[in-house]
Symmetry: C2
Subunit: 181 residues, 2 copies
Amino acid sequence: MTKTKYPLSEVYRLLEPGPVVLVTTARAGRANVMPMSWHFMMEFVPPLVGCVISNRNYSFETLKATRECVINIPTVELAEKVVACGNASGERVDKFKAFGLTPVAAARVRAPLIAECYASLECKVVDGKLAAKYNFFVLEVVKAWIDPAREHPRTIHHQGEGVFIVAGRTIHLPSPITSRA
Amino acid sequence: MTKTKYPLSEVYRLLEPGPVVLVTTARAGRANVMPMSWHFMMEFVPPLVGCVISNRNYSFETLKATRECVINIPTVELAEKVVACGNASGERVDKFKAFGLTPVAAARVRAPLIAECYASLECKVVDGKLAAKYNFFVLEVVKAWIDPAREHPRTIHHQGEGVFIVAGRTIHLPSPITSRA
């Protein structure tokens, strides 16, 4: 899958619908990957993404220490790998090898992109003040990549306990949502 | 549509997939409603929901002053009303009347539930410290309601500029996502 650059001002279009993502981190030459659903858009430009990562996860400490990660967006074809990544610990398993995911060097961060995901967002932690209280990080997307060949990526949306909603049809409504609501 | 109580520990199942929601607020006997997509789960129990509401929105000031709201989850049948609510300002329009939405008294907050939405979550602001910097509020869900007759609610997921993904089929994968990822 070949990815090209994606405009930062359009990043909200990828994350706002609420897909499960795969977060990659790297420390001391070792990369890890974990699924995440507790994330949301906080600003259009520069694109800010808020996320909560449990401090019981191996990725929490790496993100806190390195202040870098990549948010990769998988589609339904990868659903079983997403679940497998959530059921293994990066402390003991090289999940890229174990689950057949391909790391690709990022441009601005040390954590790798995942080749099999249709989009990847390189992120830096810009605010970790609420990490202690809520495990909450504010990330800035500093570089974005997308596979332009994927017109209708079937993202998956976690409903809890291994149940996922697959993105269905798209509807276009005449007027955009604007402000002052 | 008749709603019954929904367990607070299961609230994440409703919001984690990332649906557009309708947020109701009320001040001085006047209720308002706005669509929101910038929200996410922060904790299972008590259920905490983080959200960003632009300070250009009329609802921002009401939420800040009253520290109460209701998150209502609409389905695709309401898509046009959702967009209409986003294109009108609560400063000038009674959106319940204008768009045919039915307010129902909540149990724990002054903002109303919306009868036409399949689920409603009564919320109180528990942390507004980042409201000044990011327009960010942490809400606690204090009471939850659902229409038990709706088995596969077709939620809508905003992709920007009036484009929505409709929730499609559901897949069940054998193992749940657990911790230490």
